[in-house]
């Protein structure tokens, strides 16, 4: 599906020029600061692109944002402050990792709820299975697979007529 991604890219504002995201002249002299800048860049969206981080994008806007991130970091901002600064300016759209809020609760909770609900259903299903087998009043697991069960199994496994 990447083909289509590219078609979208091309039709969008992003140039389809070979992505050459971070330019040599942007890199900060301090490697620790630079690596923080790269880490932050991966969490920020290039807002004129199709789902690209500013670290990946070669759009002029992404470059401006990368420089801005580095500027703030050099000025002594913490990672959190940089993200807050950018969110205040550009809105939540700039964050690739949406913050938990009333608007995104459904998004963040869905994985948990689906997994939890699925687990409950699976457990009930598996328990019922056990109940079905221990139908003779004995919920013990081992006993149920004795004579009647065996007979029924043999019957089931008999080749068809």
């Amino acid at each position: 599906m990447n083909a289509l991604r590219v078609m979208l890219l091309v039709s969008g504002l992003c140039t389809a020029l070979p992505a050459f995201a971070v330019q040599p002249d942007e890199i900060l002299p301090d490697p620790a600061l630079e690596s923080r800048a790269r880490e932050l860049s991966r969490q920020l969206r290039c807002m004129v692109c199709q789902n690209q981080s500013i670290d990946d994008s070669d759009a002029p806007l992404a470059r401006d944002l990368r420089l801005l991130v580095r500027e703030r970091l050099s000025a002594g901002d913490s990672d959190r402050q940089v993200l807050e600064f950018l969110t205040a300016r550009y809105g939540d759209f700039v964050l690739l990792n949406p913050r938990f809020s009333a608007r995104t609760a459904l998004l963040w909770l869905t994985p948990v709820v689906v997994f939890g609900a699925g687990a409950v259903v699976a457990i009930i299903f598996l328990r019922r299975q056990r109940g079905a087998r221990g139908g003779e009043g004995d919920p013990g697991r081992e006993a149920a697979l004795s004579t009647q069960e065996r007979a029924r199994l043999d019957d089931l496994l008999k080749p068809g007529p």
Partner: protein, 659 residues
């Protein structure tokens, strides 16, 4: 004339599909075997006419007939012949025609090789298949006709998007569609079973080869697309959690769940209701993917609102098929009788575990992909959901599943012995711990999580081998005995082991690429040398050359290790004058499973150029793993038991030891 033949053939195919959608099912209702048997010739003829149509469009492309609007927009007379072929599906209209072609192809395959199916099931399946064909043929003919002519014939075409002029991308859509559309067969089987209100283990046996074949193609299609993005987009990323990628990943996840639950159904007649639901959901996700990609909704919700014809049409198809199938399911599924019972700790239990995690992972990707669209459409608020979200939600679901993978095949059907399975995995676990410790020792000061992930990958791989070792009793018996046992194992056992092994292979690649990639970004002049991961890379200068329909500037770099020359890299930048845009051609040097990756930026007048140089350790394992998964699937598919057209087996499988 050629275009008109193609158009006309497509209309005829639609008429045939309309008949095929009614007669066979009516035949089953009226208990008229002649009527019910009309499905097969109709499906084959329908495929024939769609094939004629597709061939006609291809002919227009090969002969560069620019009077056809679609050819004019996407082709160029100087383009290499290969890309004249592949540009047929390098655009919306052509790729939808390919979609329909593959749909008809699968229908024809059922007609040709479905001889072992009960006549009523076959008739119903072909009927349902025809309904899907009708809706997509209508979609092509009414909203996306590739055969439209231009009144004034242009002299030259607008060329194919240069990024698509690449062999990896040429093959990507057909593979992907073979997967996407292949799941329509599982869907048709599920709906047919619901119509009949009867379903048994044999159903699962018939539906599995089709699902498996679709899954193999989808796996390869996704891997091809990923590798293409890696070398063509120029920054060495291989997965972006982009909505378009997710659109192909969703049916893969649920298709994988379907493969596993169908095993339970075939062997034990359990999980019937669930398996039917998964079959419906998997193809529904294929349809959702088609909607996402083809409606334009991803570019912008507003773009969709201003030109809604295509989007609304696919949305309507989506609602009719998903809604219809689910309604039928709600009505009929309670009639299906539940089959064999089993203890929570058993092979069946393990496969339930597998399905739980895969389904939750699928739901996670689904909500992450659609939530921003839904939120914007409903409230106008714009948010982004990108890689960090998926890393935070998908990965925690994937890791326990990977850890559990080796246990599944070691548990017996009905009642397993978890402690026994764990005991047999002790060796695998020990090897994993050793490798993880060695990784940690070798990369001191590196990422803390990486050794754990490598350990997990090794555990999955060694665990998959453990299954084979146990079943052949390789270490307990003499070689000839083990060999005989190996020869006696069904091929699907090797297929399972290989596919599970491949998961570990891919994981190692992912860990290597994500945690240990080295990167140098700098402007270098001819004569400069860059050191990276023990290699010394010297820039020798820039060369310009003229290609068939592009100009290229490429850099020449020599790669040395310990003073020995081991390769020359020539990363390039191509400019395509027809469209005025350019592509980057990254240069790759493969060493074992690792690669050196160089991408060229803008050259400066003084001969220097910006370059990105990466060393990506183990990166090839990502795609090698996917390839091995597909080979594992192929091995299973070649199992006599599943082979298409194999003689109808006994009603119940005989006792199979150690299965």
């Amino acid at each position: 004339m050629t275009a008109e033949i193609g158009h006309y053939a497509l209309v005829l195919a639609l008429l045939l599909a309309l008949i095929q959608g009614v007669l066979p099912i009516a035949g089953v209702r009226l208990r008229d075997s002649v009527l019910a048997g009309t499905g097969e010739p109709l499906a084959i003829a329908q495929f024939g006419f769609v094939a004629v149509s597709f061939t006609a469009l291809t002919a227009c492309y090969v002969t560069s007939d620019f009077s056809v609007f679609n050819v004019f927009q996407n082709s160029h007379s100087e383009m290499p012949l290969l890309y004249k072929f592949t540009s047929v599906w390098g655009n919306h209209e052509g790729s939808m025609l390919l979609w329909v072609l593959i749909l008809a192809f699968f229908g024809a395959l059922v007609a040709l090789f479905g001889g072992n199916l009960p006549a009523t099931l076959r008739a119903n399946v072909l009927g349902v298949q025809a309904w899907i064909a009708i809706s997509f043929l209508l979609f092509v003919l009414l909203t996306s006709n590739p055969f439209v002519r231009l009144a004034q014939v242009p002299l030259e075409g607008r060329d194919l998007n240069p990024l698509l002029q690449d062999i990896g991308l040429a093959l990507h859509p057909p593979f992907l569609y073979l997967g996407y559309v292949g799941f329509s067969i599982a869907f048709a089987f599920a709906v047919a079973a619901l119509i009949e209100g009867r379903i048994d283990a044999a159903w699962a046996r018939w539906v599995r080869p089709w699902t498996l074949a679709a899954w193999i193609f989808l796996t390869l299609g996704i891997a091809l697309g990923s590798y293409w993005a890696y070398y063509e987009l120029g920054w060495g990323g291989w997965w972006f959690w982009d909505p378009v990628e997710n659109a192909s990943f969703l049916p893969w996840l649920s298709g994988t769940a379907l493969l596993h639950s169908a095993v339970v159904m075939e062997k034990r007649e359990a999980l019937k209701v669930w398996t039917i639901l998964l079959a419906i959901l998997t193809f529904s996700l294929s349809l959702v993917g088609t909607f996402l990609v083809r409606s334009g909704v991803l570019t912008s919700v507003h773009a969709f609102a201003t030109d809604p014809a295509r989007g609304v049409f696919i949305l309507a198809i989506l609602i009719v098929f998903i809604g219809g199938a689910l309604a039928l399911y709600a009505w009929r599924a309670p009639l299906l009788r539940q089959g064999g019972v089993f203890a929570p700790i058993s092979r069946e239990g393990a496969l339930v575990f597998n399905n739980l995690f895969l389904t939750a992972a699928c739901a996670t990707v689904f909500i992450g992909t659609l939530y921003p669209l839904a939120l914007e459409a409903l409230t106008g608020d714009k948010i982004s959901v990108g890689a960090p979200f998926f890393n935070a939600t998908f990965v925690p679901l994937a890791l326990p599943l990977l850890f559990a993978t080796p246990f599944g095949p070691l548990l017996a059907w009905k009642r397993g012995d978890l402690y026994g399975a764990a005991q047999r995995l002790t060796a695998a676990f020990a090897i994993a711990v050793l490798v993880a410790a060695a990784t940690a020792a070798l990369t001191t000061g590196g990422p803390i999580l990486a050794p754990f992930a490598i350990g997990l990958a090794v555990f999955v791989m060694a665990g998959a081998l453990t299954d084979l070792v146990e079943r052949t009793q390789l270490l307990r018996q003499r070689w000839p005995v083990a060999w005989r046992r190996a020869a006696g194992l069904p091929r699907s056992a090797f297929g399972t082991a290989l596919a599970h092994f491949a998961l570990g292979v891919t994981l190692i690649g992912i860990v290597g690429e994500s945690y240990f990639t080295a990167e140098r970004i700098s402007t270098i002049r001819p004569g400069d040398t860059i050191a990276i991961s023990g290699y010394r890379i010297s820039f020798e200068g820039l060369v310009a050359r003229q290609g068939a329909n592009y100009r290229e500037v490429s850099g020449r770099l020599s790669v040395r290790r310990d003073g020995d020359l081991i390769g020359i890299l020539t990363p390039g930048k191509r400019t395509y004058p027809a469209r005025g845009n350019s592509t980057s051609e990254a240069a790759l040097l493969t060493r074992g499973f690792s690669q050196i990756y160089v991408s060229l930026g803008d050259p400066n007048p003084d001969g220097s150029a910006a370059m990105r140089i990466y060393h990506k350790p183990m990166v090839l394992l990502i795609w090698l793993g996917a390839l091995l998964m597909a080979v594992g699937g192929l091995l299973s598919l070649s199992d006599r038991r599943l082979r298409v057209g194999a003689p109808k087996p006994a009603r119940k499988p005989a006792l199979q030891p150690a299965q």
